[in-house]
């Protein structure tokens, strides 16, 4: 067997690929589900925190800033491991999927709050004052005047951050979630062949290359002309 044959046999083995394809496809389903759950919860919570912060209650704001800093400073894998292995100590047992979901949602919420907040503060004070003096309430001013202007500023950084955190779903394999990487790793240990890893890489590329390209497009689309 030549070196090239051995390489192809180990990384692009059709028999093994056919055998494990269903498992990897199931893994893709889990990855997509986890990613969507994280994006929805994380962005909603981030926006909610930014709205709370805009109300300007000092003690509340300190609490929000601390939570945001906390989840920006902690590595995602550390948060996942802490939730998964730590919570049972106080009799709360989350399975791997929900532990990863909670950890990644908290992290995305922290980053999203920071980005939304930066966008909100970049809207000139005069917009608030004009709107309030026209008789609009706080919430109406916030949602109809300030937020639409802020969103435009924050789309590119928010998209990039969301993509980065969505890729963190692969970390769920550490707490035994059978998403793409987890499925591939167990397939490798059963088949003694690296083909499932090649399939996992291909599966991630199929999911994320369109997302990365879309992110690039959005970045140019929303860029402020200098």
């Amino acid at each position: 067997m030549t070196n090239l044959d051995r390489f192809l046999d180990n990384f692009f083995n059709a028999r093994i690929a056919a055998q494990w394809a269903p498992k990897i496809l199931d893994g893709m389903g889990v990855t997509v589900l986890l990613a969507i759950a994280v994006i929805v919860a994380g962005l909603a919570a981030g926006l909610g925190l930014a709205v709370l912060r805009a109300m300007g209650v000092r003690v509340l704001n300190w609490a929000i800033i601390f939570i945001v800093d906390l989840f920006r400073a902690l590595p995602p894998l550390v948060v996942i491991v802490l939730i998964f292995f730590g919570l049972p100590a106080i009799d709360i047992q989350l399975d791997g999927f929900w532990a990863a979901w909670l950890a990644l949602s908290l992290i995305l919420a922290a980053f999203a709050e920071e980005v939304f907040w930066a966008g909100i503060t970049s809207v000139p004070k005069g917009q608030w004052e004009a709107s309030r003096s026209l008789g609009l309430g706080f919430l109406v001013t916030f949602f109809l005047v300030v937020l639409p202007q802020a969103i435009r500023m924050v789309v590119p950084p928010l998209v990039n951050r969301t993509i980065a955190i969505t890729k963190g779903t692969a970390l769920a394999s550490v707490v035994a979630v059978p998403e793409i990487l987890g499925a591939a790793q167990s397939a490798v240990s059963h088949s003694f062949n690296a083909t499932p890893l090649t399939m996992a890489a291909a599966a991630y590329l199929a999911l994320f290359i369109p997302v990365v390209l879309a992110g690039r497009w959005i970045e140019t689309r929303f860029a402020w002309k200098r």
Binding site: D69, P76, L77, V78, V81, S122, K167
Partner: protein
């Protein structure tokens, strides 16, 4: 409440685990000191290369950058560590991490540096060339310093992410902070070591997060 304190903040267990946690922390620092320069070096090369006008060079480089930005870092690391032995290349955990981080963080830094270089007006490079500076000196002395200043918040932000990302080295059994904390946790059946690791990461990285938050707010306000 007592369960919570015993489960997460047991002083006794902290005392027992602290020697290996400190070892882990030192490994994490060492690892960061290795992968950040590797990533920046790769990023400068990719960043400069992606501003070359020749499409035969630029397109493969853009494809390379997108490829390694699309793959989750952990997938890349597992591929290198568990996959390369099948190709007859035995790599240890440190080598696997070095290769994985070079590919992944190099691509991220490259994208940031490319944006920085493109933000420097073309007149700067033209003026430098007209004054007789070589291409190399124009890039190193005129364009790069301005480029890096323009994207400083993104560079700091990415460096923070890279330091946090070193925690995935625990998956390939490199004895850094998270790995040691999980070892201690599995021996003691207690979450205190992981809590201690989280606190250590927070103390280490909080100042960077504060600085970054300021830089970002300034940048967003400046765009208006």
């Amino acid at each position: 409440m007592q369960d919570f304190i015993d489960g997460f903040f047991s002083l006794e267990i902290l005392r027992e685990a602290s020697p290996i946690l400190i070892q882990g922390l030192l490994q994490t620092l060492l690892l960061s000191a290795m992968v950040v320069p590797i990533g920046i070096a790769g990023g400068i090369i990719l960043g400069i290369a992606s501003t070359i006008r020749n499409p035969w060079l630029r397109l493969p480089i853009a494809a390379w950058v997108d490829l390694f930005r699309a793959l989750p870092p952990l997938v890349l690391l597992v591929f290198v560590y568990a996959g390369l032995p099948f190709a007859g290349l035995e790599v240890n955990a440190w080598q696997a991490v070095a290769i994985g981080f070079f590919l992944n963080t190099g691509a991220y830094y490259g994208e940031i540096i490319r944006a920085g270089i493109e933000s420097v007006p073309a007149g700067q490079a033209e003026a430098a060339r007209a004054l007789g500076l070589s291409r190399y000196h124009t890039m190193r002395l005129v364009v790069l310093p301005q480029a890096i200043r323009n994207v400083l918040p993104d560079l700091v932000s990415n460096t923070l992410e890279v330091v946090k990302l070193t925690s995935i080295a625990s998956v390939v059994a490199l004895p850094e902070l998270l790995f040691q904390a999980r070892q201690a946790q599995s021996v003691t059946y207690n979450a205190t070591p992981i809590m201690a690791a989280a606190v250590a990461y927070f103390i280490l990285l909080w100042p960077l997060v504060r600085v970054l938050s300021r830089l970002e707010n300034k940048q967003m306000a400046g765009k208006r």
